[in-house]
């Protein structure tokens, strides 16, 4: 279904280390995926997207990996910085449903200086 958990997992990393945030999506018919970053008091900010005909896409300091076999997405952040601290959500767009996005539960990323 579309429900998400109340207790967000937390990933703590040291400044300068690489981070990997994982997400399991729900619908095998989903054909477009987006990672968002949400800071306290703000709306979700677009980071990177990937279509289902790809398995990897790179941006600036970020890479998204898609494994359709196990319905899994990951977001890799290189050289994590304090400004990367936020809640990260993956979202899936189910084909045939227009722009409707279904969001995952979210992961809190804490960067220690």
């Amino acid at each position: 279904g579309e429900s998400v958990g109340l207790h967000l997992p937390t990933l703590s990393v040291q400044e300068g280390d690489n981070s990997i945030i994982n997400c399991a999506y729900s619908n095998s018919a989903s054909d477009y995926f987006i990672w968002y970053k949400q800071e306290s008091g703000k709306g979700p900010q677009f980071i990177i997207d990937i279509r289902s005909n790809m398995d990897k896409r790179q941006g600036q300091r970020v890479t998204v990996l898609l494994n359709k076999t196990v319905k899994h997405l990951s977001l890799q952040i290189v050289a994590t910085q304090p400004g990367d601290s936020a809640v990260y959500f993956c979202a899936e767009n189910i084909g045939g449903y227009g722009n409707k996005l279904v969001f995952g539960a979210g992961t809190i990323l804490r960067v220690k200086s």
């Binding site: 709306g43 959500f89 722009n99």
Partner: protein, 114 residues
Amino acid sequence: DAGVTQSPTHLIKTRGQQVTLRCSPISGHKSVSWYQQVLGQGPQFIFQYYEKEERGRGNFPDRFSARQFPNYSSELNVNALLLGDSALYLCASSLVQGVGQPQHFGDGTRLSIL
């Protein structure tokens, strides 16, 4: 360029009242979607509008309604407010409707029901 703008930023209402939230999409964007985000959860889809027509609706009661204007701005209306309607209401815009169109969010309206 301005991003998605929403107003008001905060709102306090009492049970049974009605509320209207407003959204201006990014210039040139024709599709607007509304989401509800309860504390500690990811956003949940409420509506999508494209070219002034409703193109998608989530699992929300009929107390929730929306519309899109000729300039592509949008309003979300909620009637007979309940305590459970307390949430952050987010508006997102994209260039057109369809898969592969990244949605860009505003900072939302924080609605509190007393």
